[in-house]
Amino acid sequence: MLMQLTLGGFAQGAIYALIALSLTVVYRSTTVVNFGHGDFVMAGAFLSYVLVVLAGIAFLPAAALAMIAMFVLGVLFSKGLIRPIRGGPHIGLALMCISAGYVLRGIARMVWGREVLPMPAVFDMEPIFLGDLVITGDAVFIIGTVLVLLILFFGVLALTDLGKMVQAVYQSPRGARLIGLNVERFNDFSWGIGAALGALGGILVAPVSLLHPDLGASFLIKGFAAMTLGGFGSLGGAVLGGILLGLAEQYAGAYLDSALIEITAYVVIVLVLFIRPQGLFGRKAVVKV
């Protein structure tokens, strides 16, 4: 029982980690919190559905295509809508993200209306039985993909020149500009990466859940909860927060009440911000005046 819940928690948590990480990537480089990110996740899931079910492309190339499309969308969003209002009040940037999210959701609903779409299973793998533990192909696939991606992401960040530049921009955009880095282009790139990673989260949940235009909202909250728990703005914290949130949901749902699964994330946000606003690894979140 406990092992089964833990496995389920890791699978869910891996997705939350991915979404929290994609939010953090954008936040760290541009200081914009993408309040429309849930709908980018939803758009990724729907794009993969279109490519797999309607266009008949195999899952892996379809997933890659959907991520590339979302990357382009993220870059265009940054260039076309975020850049022109960068000088304005911060609230405008958040509102721009929200409205972009609603536009994506509106488009999805125009096409699909109230339909709830099932996505075909990706791997028809026989579940593995280990004693009481049932390991499904989906769980292996989700955890495996996220693990590979995380190793790749943090590897690039820590070991390559590109990673060094990223860290430079994170530390001080102004300093990075002084040493000749094109911070504007880097920000566009971050939006693209954020959108693509978020879309991957959607692509991964698509086969294990039903698709509907509103699925983004709950993922946005989970992403925020993971970020808050791990420490807002910390890349590693986002990942750890996501995993912990996934586990907490499973345990709370099984041992306390299944209705609690839906609100675990909210409770986590409220508790963390009241008790330890900086989260596990974050910098100080509290304003001292």
Partner: protein
């Protein structure tokens, strides 16, 4: 800054609008009257919202939650406790204010900007969860109908009677908010938006200013919720979802952030339009999303900024002009 004479003219204009509106039911049919009533509710919702995101400058998502709290409070108090609806309006306001306090109480812990926004987002979603899961009280997904009721011998399902009540509440709360924003407190609110540290150095308790702004916002929007409950006669959880939120954002922005006049304009303009889009799923979201994006790029201070340029009568005091 308007001259003394212009200020007199402005006062005259302010009272002329509701005075003329008293005659409006002569010119409407049942459907248009219903729409107009909806506009008055939107005015209050937008007013409460613009106070927090415009004047105080804190991104907040709890507005829809206050609206829902007010509507459910009104419905529960009249359906379960048998209170006359008119009495539930201030009570709904008080409960909305309590919601405002809860949603913003993290400000006392030093939580600001994005963190506060996320807490208010969580608060709103928690409330929606609560409507759905406290079935004995709220009726869950079936919603909660308001009992039939009459005032002065006229049924409260009559849209004309409702119009006069709504108008009275709206005018009262708009005037109260205008006065509040002109007071020492109102200046403190805008000072917090401009620079919280500088404000605190003037010995203004900034966390308390944030809290009180949310509480007043909750009160106004809670009252609007009570009106809404009677307006539609049946309270459903879906009325307080994401669509209502983006509609409120759009109304605030189209009218102009932090402007009371703008709140009225935005609400009046954007209440009727979506009625025609409702038949097409997704169109409302697309419409509001595009409007918000367009306003942000082309006219960040909304229609109120155009009016301000037209005549100093429309300048609301102590509002920073766009550069």
């Amino acid at each position: 800054m308007p001259s003394a004479r212009q200020r007199q003219l402005r006062t005259l204009l302010f009272w002329a609008v509701p005075a003329l509106l008293l005659l409006l039911p002569l010119a409407t049919n049942a459907y248009t009257q219903f729409i107009v009533n909806g506009m008055l509710i939107s005015v209050l919702v937008t007013l409460g919202f613009t106070l927090v995101i415009g004047n105080l400058g804190q991104l907040a998502f709890a507005n829809t939650a206050f609206f829902g709290i007010g509507a459910y409070a009104s419905a529960i108090l009249s359906a379960k406790l048998g209170l006359p609806w008119i009495v539930t309006i201030p009570l709904a306001g008080v409960l909305g204010a309590l919601g405002g306090f809860l949603a913003s109480s993290a400000a006392l812990r030093g939580i600001r900007s994005y963190y506060l926004a996320i807490i208010t987002l969580a608060f709103g979603e928690l409330m929606r969860w609560a409507y759905l899961h406290s079935k004995p009280l709220t009726g869950g997904t079936d919603g909660l109908p308001l009992p039939r009721e009459a005032m002065f011998g006229i049924s409260l399902s009559d849209d004309t009677l409702k119009f006069y009540i709504f108008l009275a509440v709206t005018v009262l709360l708009v005037k109260a908010t205008l006065n509040l924003m002109r007071s020492r407190f109102g200046r403190a609110v805008m000072a917090v938006r401009e620079n919280e540290i500088a404000t605190a150095s003037l010995a203004i308790p900034t966390a308390r200013v944030i809290l009180v702004s949310f509480i007043w916002s909750g009160f106004v929007v809670g009252c609007a919720g009570a009106l809404f409950a009677r307006h539609v006669g049946h309270v459903f959880p879906e009325s307080f979802g994401m669509l209502h939120l983006i509609a409120s954002f759009a109304m605030v922005l189209v009218g102009g952030l932090g402007s009371v006049l703008g709140a009225v304009l935005g609400a009046v303009l954007l209440t009727a339009l979506p009625e025609y889009l409702r038949a097409f799923p997704g169109m409302e979201e697309l419409f509001f999303g595009l409007i918000v994006a367009a306003v942000l790029v082309a006219m960040p201070m909304g229609l109120a900024s155009l009016l301000r340029r037209l005549s100093p009568i429309f300048v609301e005091r102590y509002y920073r002009e766009e550069s």
